[in-house]
C-alpha cells in the first residue's frame, strides 16, 4: 500500500517533469539564440554552396549526449533547390506526443531549435548516391513512403513498430539507392547488407522504466527481449550513420561547421 502511494506520488512528479522538457517549452527564445542559430544557418549555406554538392546529410547538436559518447543528436537530408536555396527534409516528433511527421524546412528552422551547441556537421554522399537521392527529396509522396508516424526516440533499427528521425532518414536513403527496397523491411535488409551498425546504448532497466512512464515518445517494447533485458538498447544515431557512410564509401568524412 505504502509502495503504491509512493509510486503514485513519484508518477505525478514525472508527469510534471515530462511536460517541462526543454523542447516542449513554448517560451520566446533569447535574442542571442536567434542571432547565433541564424548565423549558423548562414555559415552552413555558404559552406554547402562551396562544397559543390547537391545533397548532403546535415546534423545538429541539439543535446549533450556525452554520456553516450555521441556528438550529434539529429540529422536530415539537405539539398539544393533550382534557385540555389538549401532545404532540409527531416522527421520531427511533435512535442509531448508519440507521433512524428516529415517536414521540409529552411536551414534557419533546422538550427532555430534550442541547440546545445552551435555546431553543424555535414557528410557529403558520393556523386552517384546524391544523384539517386535528389529527385526523391523533392517528391513528397516518396518522402512519406517509409514514414511510420508512431515515434520512439530509441526505436529498434530492425523493427517497424516505431520509427525515430534518424531511422527515417537512412531507411529513405536505402529506398533511393536500391530499387528493390520499397518497404521498411526491405530498406532495413539493404542497410544490414551494406554493413550499417547502430549504436548500442547501455540503459539500465530503471532508466528504461522511467522513460516509458514519463514520455510519450520513448518505448522499448520493439527491442528483442535478450537485448532489452541485458540493458543493451540499439538505435540509429547520427554518429553511427556518419561512421557507416564513410566506412562504406557511400559518403565522405565529417565536416564540422560553426
Amino acid at each position: 500500500m505504502r509502495a503504491a502511494a509512493l509510486t503514485a506520488a513519484a508518477m505525478a512528479t514525472f508527469a510534471a517533469a515530462a511536460q517541462a522538457g526543454r523542447s516542449c517549452e513554448n517560451k520566446p527564445p533569447s535574442v542571442e539564440a536567434i542571432q547565433r542559430s541564424m548565423q549558423l544557418a548562414e555559415h552552413t549555406a555558404r559552406r554547402l554552396d562551396q562544397s559543390g554538392a547537391q545533397v548532403v546529410m546535415l546534423a545538429r547538436r541539439g543535446q549533450n549526449l556525452d554520456e553516450y559518447r555521441l556528438r550529434y543528436s539529429h540529422l536530415g537530408w539537405a539539398y539544393r533547390e533550382a534557385d540555389g536555396r538549401w532545404r532540409i527534409v527531416h522527421k520531427l516528433n511533435q512535442c509531448g506526443t508519440a507521433n512524428g511527421s516529415i517536414y521540409r524546412q529552411g536551414l534557419g528552422e533546422f538550427f532555430l531549435d534550442d541547440l546545445y551547441e552551435y555546431e553543424a556537421a555535414v557528410v557529403i554522399p558520393n556523386p552517384e548516391a546524391q544523384a539517386k537521392l535528389l529527385p526523391m527529396l523533392k517528391d513528397n509522396a516518396r518522402l512519406a513512403q517509409l514514414n511510420t508516424p508512431a515515434y520512439s526516440m530509441v526505436a529498434y533499427p530492425w523493427a517497424t513498430t516505431y520509427q525515430q528521425s534518424n531511422q527515417w532518414a537512412i531507411e529513405t536513403f536505402a529506398m533511393t539507392q536500391e530499387p528493390a527496397a520499397q518497404t521498411r523491411e526491405q530498406a532495413q535488409a539493404w542497410l544490414q547488407l551494406q554493413g550499417y551498425q547502430p549504436t548500442t546504448l547501455h540503459i539500465s532497466a530503471l532508466k528504461r522504466l522511467g522513460g516509458r512512464m514519463t514520455a510519450a515518445n520513448i518505448a522499448f517494447d520493439d527491442h528483442p527481449n535478450e537485448k532489452r533485458f541485458s540493458d543493451r538498447i540499439e538505435t540509429v544515431t547520427v554518429d553511427s550513420v556518419f561512421a557507416w557512410l564513410n566506412r562504406s564509401g557511400l559518403g565522405g568524412p565529417v565536416q564540422v561547421i560553426r
Binding site: A10, N26, R85, L92, C95, G96, Q105, G211
Partner: protein, 142 residues
Amino acid sequence: MNKHSIRRTLASVTVAALLTINVATAKAQSEVSAVSVLSALPIAVSVAAPVMILSAGVSLSVVAVEASATGAVWVLERASDGARATVKLSAQAAGGLSVAAGTVVVVTAVSTGWVLSTASRAIAFIPNEIGTALLYNERVTR
C-alpha cells in the same frame, strides 16, 4: 507481512525513488526533436514603411495589433519622430504571442535580419534577403 512481500515492497519504494532521479537522463537518450522552437516565434512576411525604421538599438512602440486568419499585423512607431511601419507576421505562431498595443520593442540588427525583443526575449524576427533565403516551413506528412 511475509518475507516475500516485504522484499517486493522495498523494491517498489526503491523504484519509485530512483525513477524521480532518472527522469532527466531518460529524456536525454536522444534528442526530442520537437517541432521547431521557431514556430513559437513570429516571422515577418512583409514590412511596409515609408522610411527605413529598422536599425540597431531603436525603440519602437506597438501602436496597433490586428489578428487575422492569415496572421497578425503590427503597426510599429519610432519614438523619436513618429515614423511608422506595418509588419505582417506569419500565422504560424503569431496567435500564441501576446503583444499588446503600447508594448515597447527594441530592434537588434543581425546579419540575417532584425530581431524585435522585449526584455531580451525575442518576440519576432524580420528577415532580410539573406535571412529570407534561409527560412521555409512545409509539413510534408500529417
